[in-house]
Subunit: 309 residues, 2 copies
């Protein structure tokens, strides 16, 4: 089993959806990635930062899921990163109501000694300079570096982002972000252009419309599981990335064929994430439920067809 290093926010979120709203609850890219990857029983550790206001019980919850939190710096006198957003009725778009960077503003990530040789590195959504600073601290070249990012960094730190994108093997972004980064509307052409920026693998997340994996002229598609109700989409993309990275860390096989399975696992886990507010569902999803839903994915996507020459 490979060691998985996770970088990203550990945060407070306040979320409003058509189904209700929350006060400040646990959120953050690294939180979702860590919880998702924990379903593969891998040795994973988070590099992040929180303020003195962050409850120790949240960190304990992550540790209970076997996520190492040694790399989560606690700035006693600081406040934790806070994001607040409101989803529209279609759940596909949202307004950001508040973004308070707080301790993130001057974050210098420090990778714990025993994660400097991680085989798989998942650079979750954060300033590209922070993502890069993590890569620079590694003692060995990882087997696979995966980067997730957002349009926000394309807007304010595009050059820094392009520098770190050069160094990664896989990039996971959503469809609109792929279009923004490449300047191309067609996702096929966008993936090609992003491929030329560095990553050998490009994963384009389309939310309820599934995810596409592109590599070297090949493409693989995983749908999102059709659900009766999407309660809260927050963290679904990070949960996808965490499942993707966690599965690859567990299986130690980074072939394209195995990445197809990683995409399915990511989609599968994301389908749970959206069923409750925040991380609630991901904290208690069981192995049995996960397997059951993998069987549903198989029914949803697999068919028998003989194609004659």
């Amino acid at each position: 089993m490979s060691k998985l290093l996770i970088v990203g926010t550990v945060a407070f979120d306040a979320i409003e959806t058509p189904f209700g709203k929350t006060d400040k609850i646990l959120g953050g890219a690294a939180t979702y990635i860590g919880l998702s990857a924990s379903n593969f029983d891998v040795d994973s550790g988070i590099v992040s930062v929180v303020g003195g206001d962050f409850p120790e019980e949240y960190l304990q919850m992550l540790r209970n899921h076997k996520v190492d939190t040694t790399g989560v710096e606690i700035v006693k006198e600081g406040k934790t990163f806070f994001w607040s957003g409101k989803y529209h009725n279609d759940m596909n778009s949202r307004d950001t109501l508040a973004t308070e960077l707080n301790v993130l503003e001057n974050f210098n990530p420090i990778v714990p000694e025993n994660y400097k040789n991680s085989e798989i590195v998942m650079l979750g959504n954060l300033h590209p300079l922070v993502q890069n600073a993590v890569l620079e601290q590694l003692s060995e070249k990882p087997k696979l570096v995966i980067l997730d990012t957002m349009n926000f960094w394309m807007d304010i730190a595009l050059n820094d982002l392009k520098e770190v994108i050069k160094k990664v093997d896989v990039i996971t972004i959503n469809d609109e972000e792929a279009r923004q980064l490449s300047g191309e509307y067609s996702l096929v052409v966008a993936a090609k252009k992003i491929h030329e920026m560095g990553p050998k693998y490009v994963v384009i997340k389309k939310g309820e419309h599934g995810a596409l994996l592109f590599h070297d002229g090949q493409a693989f598609f995983a749908p999102a599981l059709p659900l009766e109700e999407v309660f809260d989409p927050t963290g679904a993309g990070d949960t996808f990335a965490g499942g993707f990275a966690g599965y690859l860390a567990k299986t130690e096989d980074i072939s394209f064929d195995n990445m197809k399975n990683a995409v399915i696992h990511g989609s599968n886990l994301a389908s749970f994430c959206v069923e409750k507010f925040g991380t609630e569902r991901m904290q208690n999803v069981t192995e049995k439920e996960i397997k059951q839903r993998l069987l549903e994915f198989r029914e949803l996507t697999q068919y028998e067809m003989s194609i004659s020459k």
Copy 2:
């Protein structure tokens, strides 16, 4: 092999896309359905109506594809149905610039004697009363009746539409239409509600986001093939329906498992339709090209995963 009866418009279209525009060219739901189904070498016949302005060579082209046009009434003194539309830059939305019903206004469909015992009936987009009038003329209960419709009929003839929907086995509509017809946003819930209206099978077409087949609590999903360029989406939904119906007519197997294949064949043929203006690509697509792309669909969707108990 089953006989396939196709009802729908045979028309003139004038299309504008970001790539260019056309004068009046051949269009119509039945045209696309017939051309698509012809790839399965089935005995198919169209019931429709055109005006005296409709070129005989268009009908000849359909006959060259072994589509029987005996049931296409020619109203010498009338004008052919004309639709004109302009696609937006994203190709997912369009404005209708003109709709001239012309000979469609007083159309009384007449099913040719030798198609009254068709095993598969494809009711393409037309007034629900016309679709119903065709069903009333059949001498035997078909093995499978498939209905395609549009939001237009939900707006102006909802009760007539609901009456004919009661009588069909499969309905194919797009996502927005499914939402309008059911009053539900979730496509899973929408499919359930539409199922309760009559059809045992509900196909929801999502354009570039693929198609979902629902039946009795089960779901199957086929993506659209990711393309570098969508040139003209006109007729893609009809081409999908024609491929779906044609494949079922050819294989004479209306099990859910075989319908999965029918959905793949429909998506596959639709991927060609959008590559050129109007029916151009569907007039010359070859068996070899179709098979090649079925292999691409397999690569795109199929994976090997063992799921332990």
